[in-house]
Subunit: 199 residues, 4 copies
């Protein structure tokens, strides 16, 4: 039983190579955090220690284990999730074996340099990865925005998760306003879904 | 507000070309129906009338509209969902436009003549279709069974939804026992998830 | 043996609901036709007769049978190829059964109203469909264009095939210049690949 | 110009965690090697050095660069290609940037412990990865085998590439006879396609 008065938790787990995916993770994290009754954690895959000799997973892996919902975020490199993200996924196999994350909620996002850029491939992978863990998948829940206005959320028209696009410039300026707002809105949706699911 | 004492509903919507997918749908339907507090409907795509001149969708479309969860089932033909199923999906675009199914639960299954047979492609499509509708996706939640025992549920090791395999024989005898049991168990899981989600 | 002096043929087969995919098909057809030594055919799925009582496929199906390369084009509706296109695919199963298209070349394109819009799902389907037929798949072979310039070919950054985007306006004006040019260039590439492959 | 009398080359590049994927790679390599006019190389991703400080790729990367066809092989872990394989893929981005592998041929295979086991996801990734490199994809070209006979090639009914299944036992005994034969046959097809394509 969950102790009375405790809040639910959403973990936003991401890999970021150059800082752009991190910016999206932070916006999504802010959206999650803005919902009452939810505690959010922002975790980089770099913070997850390698398994011990006995395959045990300690440190921030415990935050994932305790979370009601885990959001997975990764750049799209060469048509798929980054090798660093995949390393995390492969390490989770000892959890999969015991179905330790079964019935948690999950969601996903991916950033790349292009408007389409095969990011759907990464989102498909994230949802399949979540399905191996027996999780329940929260879709984006947002109609496509205006393709001609970079300031509208979801201008690229994604549905399985969030897609954002960054230019070859500093993460301070890219991805743009519409993408950041979409990340925030998706965070709010994820938090509200977690409240609904877990109550 | 949902009236006090009313049950929740799960609609099992399927297309079946030769009867094998129908058998799976019936087993899944039996599993759903066995859970207290759930009313199940078994609907073939053939029972859904074409849109009216005003694009309105009547008849059994209303059962889908009222359902808390819709399960999509289709044979895999030539590497994807059947044309008949896709016709249904395309007709649902007027609902998509208004996000009329948003936040309903969804799940999927596919039958084909092979062990692998590109059925994952159909399940990927069904989950993407559900994501366009803003639905929440229930994964199979079952570890892979023994690949050498046709009587174990999920012997092929699916995760995104249910995969079953039928031989070129009467639907009375194929798909086999393990696949039918997997369908029943998935139905139970879907019903329990619907209760948890909607309460 | 191919008779001396005969040309090779590329069939561009498409479905178009509102005329936008047809425009792309025509641009691609023009590119194919511009290459010496290639005869191109532009065929709508509506021109392919239903199978006879003996499952035989006559009429323009013979043009497909005789082609060295078949290019498949479809709108993306509700996250996948159109039902009309899928009907064609399902009807081709009697050809699949005899592997009648084995070792032909294949390629694909899809149009939708969004920049990303889950078109990758349609291209994935087309390539999987071609693989069931034992065909060899020609990828787009074009680096991503500038995402901020609608006049550059492949601005959305596709790779498995061609993605184009149309607005809710007449096919006379949309998809735009960059997409039409990408279609033409892809047609040239397909024709050149067919020459290289078949000689 | 290719020097007169030189043979064409096929590189079989793989990652193997426990030796099962290596066995498949070896069978496929044997098939390729059996075709006159082809020189085959068998390369593990572990043999590819990390990029130099200037991002240059030396050592066995040169064999890949010189090959007419590259076959990619990977286990399926947690629903996708292994992290080790993905590391290779990500490192190839400097080649992608210059389209250094454009118009080479490519093919793929994946091994896992299940009959279906989401291996299609890995093959889809491999084909998408090849498409980013502008390569031309050779499909399996084999009808589904008998699902009830583990000794028939392609008993699982794959098409986009080769799927094999290993039990939790030594690579000396698993994957089984049918899978090894399928790998050999696929190797022959790949070699013959390379001869046809490159001449």
């Amino acid at each position: 039983m969950r102790p009375q008065g405790s809040t639910l938790t959403v973990a936003v787990l991401f890999h970021s190579g150059y800082g752009h995916t991190k910016v999206v993770a932070e916006s999504l994290f802010a959206g999650v955090s803005s919902v009452a009754g939810i505690t959010a954690h922002l975790i980089s895959v770099d913070e997850l220690p390698a398994p011990g000799a006995d395959r045990s997973l300690g440190g921030k892996w415990q935050l994932l284990q305790a979370a009601d919902c885990i959001v997975f975020g990764t750049p799209t490199y060469m048509g798929g999730v980054s090798a660093k993200f995949k390393e995390f996924a492969d390490r989770s196999s000892s959890i999969w074996f015991k179905q330790g994350w079964k019935d948690k909620l999950a969601a996903g996002f991916s950033n790349s340099g292009n408007l389409s850029g095969d990011r759907l491939s990464s989102l498909q992978y994230l949802s399949l990865f979540a399905s191996q863990h027996g999780m329940v998948w929260i879709n984006l829940g947002m109609l496509p925005g205006n393709p001609h206005d970079a300031n509208t959320p979801n201008r690229v028209g994604s549905s399985l998760g969030l897609m954002t696009q960054s230019d070859q410039a500093s993460p301070e300026v890219t991805p743009g306003k519409g993408d950041r707002e979409a990340a925030r809105l998706f965070g709010v949706r994820i938090a509200q879904t977690t409240l609904r699911w877990t109550k």
